[in-house]
Amino acid sequence: MIYKDNKNTAIVECKELTKVYKNLLFGRSRAVCALKTISLSVNKGQIVGLIGPNGAGKSTLLNLIAGLIFPTEGCLTVCGSPARSVEARRSLGYMPEHPSFLGRYSARAVLRYHGALLGLPRKAISLQMDKSIQQLQMEEFIDRPCSEFSQGMRQRLALAIALMNDPQLLLLDEPSNGLDPVGIVQLRDLLKRLRDSGTAIVVSSHRLGELEKLTSDYIFLYRGEVVSFGDKIISGQAGRLRVELVSNGSYIAEKLLSPSQVLGVSDTELGIAVDNVDDVPDIVSDLVKGGARIKSVNLQTEDIEDIFLRLYNERN
């Protein structure tokens, strides 16, 4: 979960963060507010998924944490130091959505180059390279020039670069882009291992199914605002209740349920919308008290994709 008050373990802390992109020529008249007064924190050993439709502000938030852009208002710290400071960047690993490398460099040369930029000694770079090659299955293409790489190879190399300094905070923008199913499973296992070793990970992704297998902590962003945090999403998790009856389905639905609750009805089956899974026993009890002869009850809870669509539809 997202611990808002635990300062001992907070790796990222945002307070009232606002980002407005101003047009140099037209000033405020063409300004775009990408993030509006966002406050959140990400803790050690936590994976946070940033979800939201295109233009919601996910990449802006990642870029702010990475120190690539300045906040218009608010305060942002990474490992206790202001974002963009050298101290903050020392504990940061960043993987962009579309990684790009110097085409003439091999993957090995790129890793050596980034190791040097991190200020690692030659021996540490070699050790880190060996570790990355093994972890990310890069043996096949480590000495090939980057210009020949597929999207999946680029993603692996970009992740290896982000992990070069054993970061305390890992920022990933669409990390599973272009990876094959085996690569996706390996990536998931790697991220879970990193989480277990205490690395805080912030992932922005549209692959909600993948994200769901990785974490239950989400931040749903919509038009620059945090609509819902992961803990609220889960506790308020909704679903669909399928009730099989002996008979009189239509009568029961009309008598005991409000029209907004009824998702589907026939003589022997009812589909009931459930706002909160905790309400299910009460609903079933009411049905029985109202004379329904129930054969079976089946609860289908929302997955993250359903939650995403529900939250999105609520805002539209």
Binding site: Y21, S59, T60, N63, A66, G67, L68, I69, F70, V86, E87, R89, R90, L92, G93, Y94, P96, E97, H98, P99, S100, F101, L102, R104, Y105, R112, Y113, H114, G115, A116, L117, L118, G119, L120, P121, R122, A158, I161, N165
Partner: protein, 253 residues
């Protein structure tokens, strides 16, 4: 390690950098063998070709390419002062310039040995002036690359310099002696790349203690060298400030 990798990167970031070096050294050879009548012509050619066009060719997209491709986003998350990135890249360019002029000097010497035309007198100072001009132009082009998209920094600088010379020529022809013309000419002479000052230095026009500031006497040649170095530093500081203040995102690119 960091300095070494960043300097090395300026040599190997584009395949055509080596093509430029090699083809231009061959070009000097041909120019010397086919066209040279007096030794000073070669110095002037080297000065303009190597001192002005070479840094433009080598620095094209030096930051613009990184910004356009998004590579800069990863570079800027690395734990070092962004100024280091600028300084080491400029050093890499300068090193290429110095090596290029050393090789150019060798080529000229070898060709001179074979064909025996002209003299090598004054070649050293022409090479030195060309080096200084190279560094100033490289700094200006690198700074432009921070703000100009992709590889258009060199083209923009070339057009700006050519336009400035064209305007100066028109102004001195039409309005010679006007205050406006004088101000524009002086501004270009001292704030722009020091073509005139360095070519005069190479031609040996500056005598001893020819620049007097109050009670201080200065060798004008030395002042000219200092001026070039100060310009390089100013252009670099502007570039570093721009790089440090710039925001980098894929969306903005």
């Amino acid at each position: 390690m960091r300095a070494y990798e960043l300097i090395k990167e300026t040599f190997s970031r584009k395949m055509y950098i080596w093509v430029v070096h090699i083809s231009w050294l061959i070009l000097y050879c041909f120019f010397w063998v086919l066209f040279l009548e007096e030794e000073t012509d070669f110095g002037k050619f080297l000065f303009l070709w190597g001192g002005f066009l070479l840094p433009l060719a080598l620095s094209t997209g030096i930051f613009g390419d990184d910004i356009a491709s998004g590579r800069i986003c990863v570079l800027m998350t690395r734990p070092f002062w962004p100024g280091e990135l600028y300084i080491y890249r400029l050093l890499g360019l300068s090193l290429q310039g110095v090596l290029h002029f050393i090789l150019a000097g060798c080529v000229i010497y070898i060709v001179h040995l074979f064909i025996g035309r002209g003299t090598l007198e004054g070649l050293g100072i022409w090479l030195f002036s060309s080096c200084l001009l190279f560094i100033v132009c490289a700094a200006l082009s690198t700074t432009l690359s921070v703000v100009v998209s992709r590889a258009f920094n060199s083209l923009l600088l070339f057009i700006a310099v050519a336009s400035a010379f064209f305007i100066v020529s028109i102004l001195t022809w039409q309005h010679d002696g006007d205050t406006g013309t004088k101000v524009f000419t002086v501004l270009l002479k001292y704030a722009g790349p020091p073509f005139e000052l360095l070519s005069k230095l190479a031609e040996g026009e500056y005598g001893k203690f020819s620049l007097i500031i109050g009670q201080h006497k200065l060798i004008k040649g030395l002042a000219c060298i200092t001026h070039s170095l100060v310009l390089t530093v100013i252009y670099s500081i502007v570039g570093i400030i721009l790089l440090s203040r710039k925001q980098f995102t894929y969306e903005l690119n």
